[in-house]
């Protein structure tokens, strides 16, 4: 007996929900050879605005969770990714046009990256924080504090980064207590939305990771100039029209945002990406009178 296939509707991920674009727009996602894969939502500036609102609403509670707890949540994402490995391999191999082995290697690298970053959650503060020497009967402590809401452009290369690139951008941002609005790979956005589905069924609170699919050239200027966005990760902005990421940097400077410049390919996991989106808070505290 023949049966009809039931294709998946790929939508946005905003505030723990999966809405279509408020504009109603979609665009066709194809394989590199031009075969139809899916219709994805084409996010508008208002979707970006809504995503920032959701990210802002979620930020205080996420930053208030203990570092240990955030590490456990991130580690659980890796566990769930492992369980849905076949789905990701299928999506990546079709949308990037690579072999199943290459796609499998990318999924493995992504899982390992989540585990690596999850381990840092309750350790990076020991590396970049400090108990400062003082000449008096009190403590003086420098501790890293999350910057707030970060907007990010995921790596946009056609091959090798559709899942790994997104994870390599998102994981170091959220592990310190930031929330993120990320624009997925434009040509291969399917695994990004599937990753958002994994996040929604793991312990990540809604609004911590918001995924937009669509045109980075259209969305990035609105995110860069948004006054309620605290930092900007331009990892994938290098593919935009030549030099336009400099304009994004200029727009971001208007509201004193921290900016990470574009990289090629997926960013290499590093402590620098973690500390790029934290600020050092120095406080003094009396010594106990015991």
């Amino acid at each position: 007996m023949s049966r009809l296939t039931v294709p998946k509707t790929y939508k946005l991920a905003i505030g723990g929900a999966f809405p279509r674009s408020e504009s109603g727009r979609t665009y066709v996602v194809t394989t590199p050879k031009g075969e139809f894969l899916a219709n994805a939502s084409l996010a508008s500036r208002k979707d970006a605005r809504d995503a920032v609102v959701a990210a802002r609403a979620a930020q205080a509670k996420w930053a208030g969770a203990t570092a240990y707890n955030r590490g456990q949540v991130l580690y659980r994402i890796a566990e769930l990714l492992e369980g849905r490995r076949a789905q990701f391999v299928d999506e990546i191999s079709r949308s990037e046009g690579v072999s199943a082995a290459a796609a499998g290697a990318q999924v493995d690298a992504t899982i390992d990256l989540w585990v690596w970053y999850a381990g840092w959650a309750d350790k990076y503060a020991q590396v970049v924080g400090n108990g400062n020497p003082v000449a008096g009967p009190y403590f003086n402590l420098s501790v890293p504090d999350p910057t707030g809401v970060v907007a990010a452009i995921a790596p946009q290369e056609r091959e090798g980064v559709s899942l790994l690139g997104l994870a390599a951008v998102v994981a170091p941002i959220v592990l310190t207590g930031n929330t993120v609005v990320v624009v997925a790979n434009e040509d291969a956005p399917l695994s990004a939305i599937s990753l958002a589905e994994v996040l929604a069924t793991s312990d990540v609170p809604g609004g911590v990771v918001n995924v937009l699919t669509g045109s980075p050239a259209e969305l990035a200027p609105w995110l860069a100039s948004h006054a309620d966005v605290n930092a900007l990760d331009l990892a994938g902005a290098g593919v935009l029209a030549s030099g336009s990421w400099v304009d994004l940097q200029l727009a971001a400077a208007e509201t004193l945002k921290r900016v990470l410049p574009p990289v090629s390919g997926a960013p290499v996991p590093s402590l620098d990406r973690i500390t790029a989106f934290v600020e050092t808070k120095t406080v003094w505290h009396t010594k106990a009178m015991l």
């Binding site: 802002r56 609105w222 006054a227 309620d228």
Partner: protein, 337 residues
């Protein structure tokens, strides 16, 4: 006869004209209970329909300014201090320090004992919102419950008026209304209206709060609106903001329909003030659409239309900044209170 500014009518004057000189509880009851019932489904559908209008940029800019011009910036907390009132007044006078073209709000709304501080802080800017100045509104009559004897309610009112309040927001006795004692509610409104009289014979504007969240049914809201207007209300107001649900679009539409009917009957214009729960500019614009479509655009002046809100102004300022600068603004760019 058309009276533009619905003030200085003697209390109960309207009821005497409509119901005749022999103003008994029976006459009042016959009138109020003779009002047609409200078609709840139709009312909610009409309100939902009005909420779907698409507002284009230039109209939006006008709407945002109108929201600010007709807003009663409110602080009604047990923790209010003279300092909090002064900072509220500073915001009322200069809502957005980054944009001097921002209009002033219509009034600040405070508890009666805070009126002297509001008047003092406003100084020369205390006056008629039509002249670009800011009025002082005070809640009175044992706000928000209204559970006090009439003497206390009247003393509360007189004290606020004597301290310089231009507008009095009174609450009706919902318990009496719900148990059918319309005459008692009527008499109290009339007495409070009389207490709003200043030594020079003019009256402070009287806003009558129906607390629609406690009236339960739309039929009761319609009756209470008629009752308040007959007793001499200059404004009818939905809620105290202390009871949920507070202002909703259907209830506001219903009250505006009563105001429209009263205007057709007598030519008098009564004001309307939804209060409580309106936090987003988008919602506020829907109320403006409802006013324009129900009683007409001429109602969108501070003397006939007010928003009672504390956090709405901040959202409106964010939208104004977006229109002015072309990029989205954030809560760091408006004042906390």
């Amino acid at each position: 006869m058309t009276i533009d500014h619905p003030v200085a009518l003697a209390p109960a004057d309207r009821a005497v004209r409509l119901l005749g000189g022999d103003l008994t509880e029976k006459a009042l009851r016959l009138h109020l209970e003779g009002l047609a019932g409200v078609d709840a489904v139709g009312l909610e559908q009409r309100a939902a329909g009005l909420a779907t209008r698409s507002i284009k940029t230039s109209s939006k800019a006008w709407a945002l300014d109108t929201i600010i011009r007709t807003c009663d910036l409110t602080t009604l907390e047990g923790a209010d201090t003279p300092g909090k009132v002064r900072s509220l007044v500073a915001k009322a006078v200069t809502p957005d320090a980054s944009d001097p073209t921002t209009p002033r709000v219509a009034a600040v709304c405070v508890y009666g004992d805070m009126v002297p501080y509001a008047v003092e802080a406003l100084g020369a800017l205390h006056g008629d919102p039509d002249a670009g100045l800011v009025s002082v509104a005070a809640v009175a009559t044992a706000f928000p419950s209204g559970r006090a004897s009439l003497d206390i309610k009247l003393a509360d009112t007189r004290e606020a008026v004597a301290a310089g309040a231009d507008e009095i927001d009174m609450v009706i006795d919902r318990g009496a209304f719900l148990s059918g004692r319309y005459g008692l509610v009527f008499d109290q409104i009339v007495a409070v209206k009389e207490a709003c009289r200043r030594p020079d014979g003019s009256y402070a504007h009287l806003k009558v709060i129906l607390e629609t969240g406690e009236l339960v049914t739309y039929d009761n809201v319609r009756r209470a609106s008629w009752l308040a207007i007959l007793a001499g209300a200059d404004f009818i107001k939905t809620s105290t903001g202390k009871v949920s649900p507070a202002a909703t679009l259907p209830v506001t539409l219903l009250m505006l329909e009563v105001i429209r009917d009263w205007h057709r009957l007598t030519g008098e214009k009564v004001g309307m003030k939804p209060a409580g729960g309106i936090r987003a500019s988008k919602d506020a614009v829907r109320y403006l659409v409802t006013v324009a479509e129900t009683v007409g655009e001429e109602w969108l002046t501070p003397h006939l239309w007010r928003f009672g809100a504390s956090s709405l102004v901040n959202d409106v300022l964010l939208q104004r900044q977006k229109l002015r600068t072309g990029h989205y603004s954030g809560p760091d760019y408006v004042t906390v209170d």
